[in-house]
């Protein structure tokens, strides 16, 4: 082993993934921590890394500054977009408000809130059955939920729009109601899979002890399984929210007229309005951006680990 330069932060940092790394408890030099062997000491490699990081931030994050500055700029247009607002004003937001942006926004909030609640309840129930029970046809049901992931909204959009207009058996017209968007989002294969995987890891002993105490199924789920699943529920919540907020085609086909649109779909209404400029569209974009941004910044750690877990397990 070459001269070990032990960086205490890195040495103690948990390397949870990769079972093999667990057996060797030796402290490896920091330069073996990354594939490219970056190290923290100032030098050319270090300077290069800082420069590249700055470039990455500029490419991926700076455009958001342009949205923000454009939204606060008077008479902003595509030709005057910059990273700093000039002539700062709130006028764009006032105009966007007059065009009903807050109504669209509240549509979005109702759909995101209701849809997420329904999705979490439905997927948790299904995952509980799949993880903690054995029954005939289990593999088939699991496959069915996986299929829902492979059946993107886009592919079934046309027949789905017919179904939303006349739900089979009950013959309800869901078009123009928030239910038209909320109900199709209820069963999300990804959440079912992830929660199932997580619930499977809960030790049987805990469940058996609870059963001896006479705990019923719903209490078992609510008081014993769910508290142990908090991290997975967090991930399902964040990813579900971002997925629902990102919906475009579904709110489009579920709407009866433009007042039913969500805020993301309504941006195109603003854009095609000849009387408003780019600044107003950008103000709308900022309003549409804020909720997902808040959710992301608050819970980004669980989101990122969730994407990784979902990808490696699925």
């Amino acid at each position: 082993m070459s001269a070990p330069v032990i960086d205490p932060v890195r040495a103690t940092a948990p390397r949870t993934t990769g079972k093999r790394s667990g057996k060797a408890k030796r402290t490896t030099p920091a330069r073996f921590d990354t594939a490219l062997g970056w190290n923290d000491k100032p030098g050319t490699a270090w300077a290069l890394r800082i420069l590249l990081c700055a470039t990455a931030v500029a490419i991926f994050a700076a455009p958001f500054l342009a949205i923000l500055s454009g939204a606060f700029t008077k008479n902003a247009s595509g030709s005057s977009l910059s990273f700093l607002p000039h002539d700062s004003t709130l006028l764009n937001f006032t105009v966007a408000g007059e065009r009903g942006i807050w109504d669209y926004f509240s549509n979005s909030l109702v759909i995101a809130g209701g849809g997420l609640l329904l999705q979490l309840v439905v997927c948790t129930l299904a995952a509980y059955a799949l993880a903690r029970h054995r029954f005939r046809g289990q593999a088939l049901i699991l496959t069915l939920f996986m299929l829902t992931m492979m059946l993107p909204e886009e592919v079934i959009a046309i027949p789905l729009s017919l179904v939303l207009g006349d739900v089979p058996v009950v013959h309800l017209d869901l078009k123009g109601t928030v239910w038209g968007v909320i109900l199709p989002l209820g069963a999300w294969g990804f959440s079912v899979m992830m929660l199932t995987e997580f619930m499977k890891d809960i030790p049987d002993e805990i469940e058996e002890a609870a059963r001896l105490d006479g705990v019923g199924e719903l209490r078992m789920l609510w008081q014993i399984v769910l508290p142990l699943c908090k991290p997975a529920l967090g991930v399902a919540g964040v990813l579900g929210f971002i997925m629902i907020w990102d919906q475009y085609l579904l709110p489009l086909i579920a709407a009866k007229d433009p007042t039913d649109y969500t805020v993301t779909v309504a941006l195109s209404v603003l854009r095609t309005d000849p009387e408003v400029g780019s600044g107003v569209v950008l103000a709308g974009a900022v309003i549409a951006l804020i909720p997902s941004l808040i959710v992301y910044l608050l819970l980004q750690r669980s989101l990122v680990s969730g994407i990784a877990a979902g990808a490696t397990k699925g």
């Binding site: 082993m1 594939a35 931030v57 030709s79 309840v121 079934i156 990808a311």
Partner: protein, 303 residues
């Protein structure tokens, strides 16, 4: 209250029929929603694809007519080409860029975490918002955001979205921008699982950085790459929102992809049968792709 209702069923070890019912009660809401809003529409789509759908007049069975019509329509043929170019280019671009980002931003330092948070922003932003943002960045006059950047290098204003030869590539650039950070996260999870002692052994053997990447890192993250590739390919096939928001398929149909074409056919031309046939074709290709990739992934795992 509800707990007391199900408790007897749960305790029913003595009565196996009731116990067997419990999982189905928990599955019922999910299965019902999936049935009504996923599988029923899918079946209905397949069914309608064999009909000439005429509201109020009654549907007329036409067999495979819709399929031949869609597959021989030159705008659909163009759309296949665009979907493939866009899907492949966007997927590969986003994977390569995601890999580079993962290599660059791998590590525990606090600053790196902040950079990662910033870089991941495109992946959490709604596609429609990203589309509006890029429309403005692509603004065609010389003082548009990207064009003023090109100005610095003495390059004239580029008509990113209005030039039929460029529009598809401009759309692809946006797709790469959206999906590279997402791939970065998955690849980074793969990188975290690479056995560190292998790097050390490689260093002792005196291999170059490139060899180390080629023979240690890449094989180790192959499963992660496989997942990223599958996800990207499926996303590429069904691409809709990006194109619809950014160009609407124009100019002159140069960015028309399979789903925007099906959407136009179904919702603005009211050709439900044809649009259903197009969707069924896409569905078959998606399923085929998923099954194939899974097959190869499983085989790869065994080896």
């Amino acid at each position: 209250m509800t707990a007391t209702v199900t408790t007897p069923a749960a305790r029913g070890g003595r009565r196996p029929t009731k116990k067997a019912l419990v999982p189905w009660l928990f599955l019922a809401p999910g299965l019902l929603l999936a049935l009504v809003f996923k599988f029923w529409p899918m079946a209905k789509g397949v069914w309608l694809s064999f009909f000439d759908v005429r509201p109020f007049l009654g549907d007329r069975w036409t067999g495979l007519d819709n399929y031949t019509r869609v597959l021989t329509d030159h705008r659909f043929q163009d759309a296949i080409g665009h979907t493939l170019v866009l899907g492949i280019g966007q997927s590969l671009g986003a994977i390569v860029l995601g890999f580079v980002l993962a290599l660059l931003l791998e590590g525990q330092a606090r600053l790196l975490k902040i950079v990662r948070t910033a870089v991941f922003l495109p992946a959490v932003t709604a596609t429609a918002v990203v589309g509006e943002l890029w429309r403005l960045m692509y603004y065609p006059t010389s003082d548009g955001l990207l064009n003023s950047g090109l100005n610095l290098f003495g390059l004239g204003p580029v008509q990113f979205l209005d030039n039929p030869d460029l529009a598809l590539w401009s759309t692809m650039a946006m797709g790469i921008w959206i999906w590279a950070p997402y791939n970065m996260v998955i690849i980074m999870a793969g990188l975290a699982g690479v056995d560190r002692s292998l790097y050390e052994a490689a260093a002792m053997d005196g291999v170059s950085l490139w060899q180390r990447l080629r023979y240690v890192t890449l094989p180790a993250i192959r499963p992660a790459l496989g997942i990223v590739l599958t996800l990207a390919a499926i996303r590429g096939l069904r691409v809709f929102t990006e194109v619809y928001v950014l160009t609407g398929g124009g100019p002159a149909g140069s960015t028309e992809v399979w789903m925007t074409r099906a959407y136009t056919l179904g919702f603005t031309r009211n050709d439900i049968g044809g649009a259903s046939a197009a969707s069924v074709v896409l569905l078959c290709v998606t399923l085929l792709l998923t099954v194939t990739v899974n097959y190869f992934r499983k085989r790869g795992d065994v080896r």
